[in-house]
């Protein structure tokens, strides 16, 4: 009985991710055929590899929370708040004449501390007070945005040490450093979510928190952890963005909010929780990146690109539905 259901899930996830893989290869080939001299060049691949990690990390930050049956609408402002306070530390210490080494160390530590504080607040509001995650994080995102604006008065924080720009702009053997960070994040998220007892509990909570708590899992503690993990990823995205943009501002990356939900669900994550694979989310982000860059190079109107993205979202889920229906009929 148990092995039977295991097989079923296995088949289901394979087919979901397989569809995505096919689509990814499809769009990649398509774009390469459409603009062979510009799309399929080392320079473009490298530039896509610079762009992808930001949305990629945000999408995973969103996905882990969705898997737990929640939602995190505060991801971009968590990143913004940690960037702004971390950026303040970076620029103030630089202005005070402190060397780049200690400055960057202290700065990055601040990014993480602020990010984790945001995550802890989300965790308390969702797990302890029990507010619906969507409303809770909508409230905290307004709060974080307000704090950002209060600090910056609408301006940008800049004046970072030059060495800090390395994180977002350097390449190692031709591979952009943000991409390396992304690979590490993906690996860590994979092991944490899909290979560790913690991840297993998160999936259980996402399926049914009441049953999970009766089976002896500390739901609150694990929810706290998942929001902390999500916020940690946001802080990392914040570091990459501040470094890539050489400044910090509350509005940076605000367009990633909806995109990361789309990426997570396109990647097969069940919006009501309990199911979702890191690999699927990564594939979804790659698809979005290739389409966005490819169509941009072709000079397609941005609004039409939005239409195509929406179409693909619906198309993929329709394919998932049809193929799952066909399998069910076959049995």
């Amino acid at each position: 009985m148990k092995s039977n259901t295991d097989k079923k899930t296995l088949a289901r996830l394979q087919s979901k991710e397989a569809v995505l893989l096919f689509i990814f290869i499809g769009v990649f080939v398509l774009m390469s055929v459409l603009s062979p001299t510009t799309f399929l060049t080392w320079r473009n691949l490298q530039s896509m590899a610079f762009q992808l990690p930001e949305l990629g990390i945000f999408a995973i930050a969103m996905m882990v929370v969705i898997v737990s049956g929640g939602m995190n609408l505060s991801i971009t402002y968590t990143a913004a708040l940690s960037s702004i306070i971390g950026g303040l530390v970076l620029s103030k210490m630089t202005a005070a004449g402190i060397g780049p080494g200690p400055t960057i160390l202290a700065g990055i530590a601040t990014f993480f501390v602020v990010g984790l504080a945001c995550g802890a607040l989300n965790g308390v509001i969702v797990a302890d007070i029990g507010i619906a995650p969507m409303l809770a994080t909508l409230g905290t995102s307004t709060l974080f945005e307000g704090i950002c604006l209060n600090i910056t008065k609408g301006g940008a924080i800049s004046g970072f040490p030059d060495a800090f720009l390395w994180f977002g702009n350097a390449t190692i053997l031709g591979v952009p450093f943000p991409m390396i960070v992304f690979v590490v994040v993906v690996a860590a998220a994979y092991f944490l979510m899909e290979r560790s007892p913690f991840g297993f509990k998160i999936y259980m909570i996402g399926c049914n928190p009441t049953v999970t708590s009766y089976s002896g899992v500390n739901v609150k503690k694990n929810l706290h952890r998942v929001y902390l993990f999500s916020a940690l990823l946001c802080a990392i995205a914040g570091i990459l963005m501040s470094s890539r943009y050489n400044s910090a501002k509350e509005s940076y990356g605000s367009s990633y909010m909806m995109q990361s939900i789309s990426a997570a669900v396109l990647g097969g994550t069940d919006i009501s929780g309990g199911y979702g694979r890191i690999f699927g989310t990564v594939l979804a982000v790659m698809i979005i990146q290739v389409i966005s860059s490819g169509l941009n190079i072709l000079g397609v109107n941005r609004f039409i690109i939005n239409v195509i993205m929406g179409g693909i979202l619906i198309l993929v889920l329709t394919i998932n539905f049809i193929s799952s229906g066909r399998k069910a009929n076959a049995k």
Binding site: S35, S247, Y252, V307
Partner: protein
Amino acid sequence: MSRTRKFMIILMVLLAMTGLAFAQAKKVTIVVMPKLIGIPYFNASEVGAKKAGEDLGINVIYTGPTTADAAEQVRMLEDFISKGVDAICVAPNDPAALTPVLKKAKAAGIVVLDWDTPADKSIVDLSVHQIDDVVYGQHCWDLLVKEMGDSGDYAILTGGLSAANLNGWIDAGLSYAKTKYPKLHLVTDKVPTDEKQQVAYQKALDLIKAYPNLKGIIGISTPTPIGAAQAVQEKGLKNKIAVVGTALPTDSRPYLEDGSLRVVTLWDPSKLGYLTVVLANDLLKGKKPVNGQEIANVGKITVKADGKTVIMGPPTDFTKENAKNFAF
């Protein structure tokens, strides 16, 4: 079999969706990137930029993000650097954020200009401004004083708290007012309106009630004065509260005509787009702009002492009388 079929279907659908809108010859290609697309102001500048492209026989790509997000601009610029264009003219959502990507563009041999809003001065080859920010800020406050008198309470509505150019004008105007019009009293910090007429309308209604002695409202960013004027009109206060600001003449005409909006000021965004493309093209040919140069369809330009800051000219004030003469 079903997988290949699925794959084929997806391929075909994608092909159909992309269409075949990409026949490009090897002409000079200039990218003009606004802060965002799909708002009237940047649509008007698109018209000018495209027209310059036709007049000069060059390829002008006018595109930008759909929201005013610097991150999105950086991504798109990176795509264009990979694509390999000749010049990039960008209106940065945030100057500092674009510095690294513009450096990359220069390293790739692309000529870099900013327009509408200045980028990092040390990187751009040329900076095309509609107007001097300080002069413009002062001009807005002069208009306010002309309409409400040089003493009394007034409030500022702005498009967004983090829009660099709007903040620049407001700061210039405020410091100017401090010395020139000391009896003006700003009741509260600038109020953000999300670049929406509806929000400006609500905030103006609230301001009118919160500060009963309000004599003037200055609306910075194009939908804002219109929303404020609507509130003043509905409250029947058009003789008591003067609304001025920055807006396009066509959108604000109904309110200019009934007097609830006294005067708005702006430049012709299409001329700015035109000028940007002309100057970028000149620069590609190695021609630098000179002070007092006459540009066809635009007029005389001013070049500042640094040799790379170009000012298009003074703004136009739109009033009840002249608003109908403009097509933007």
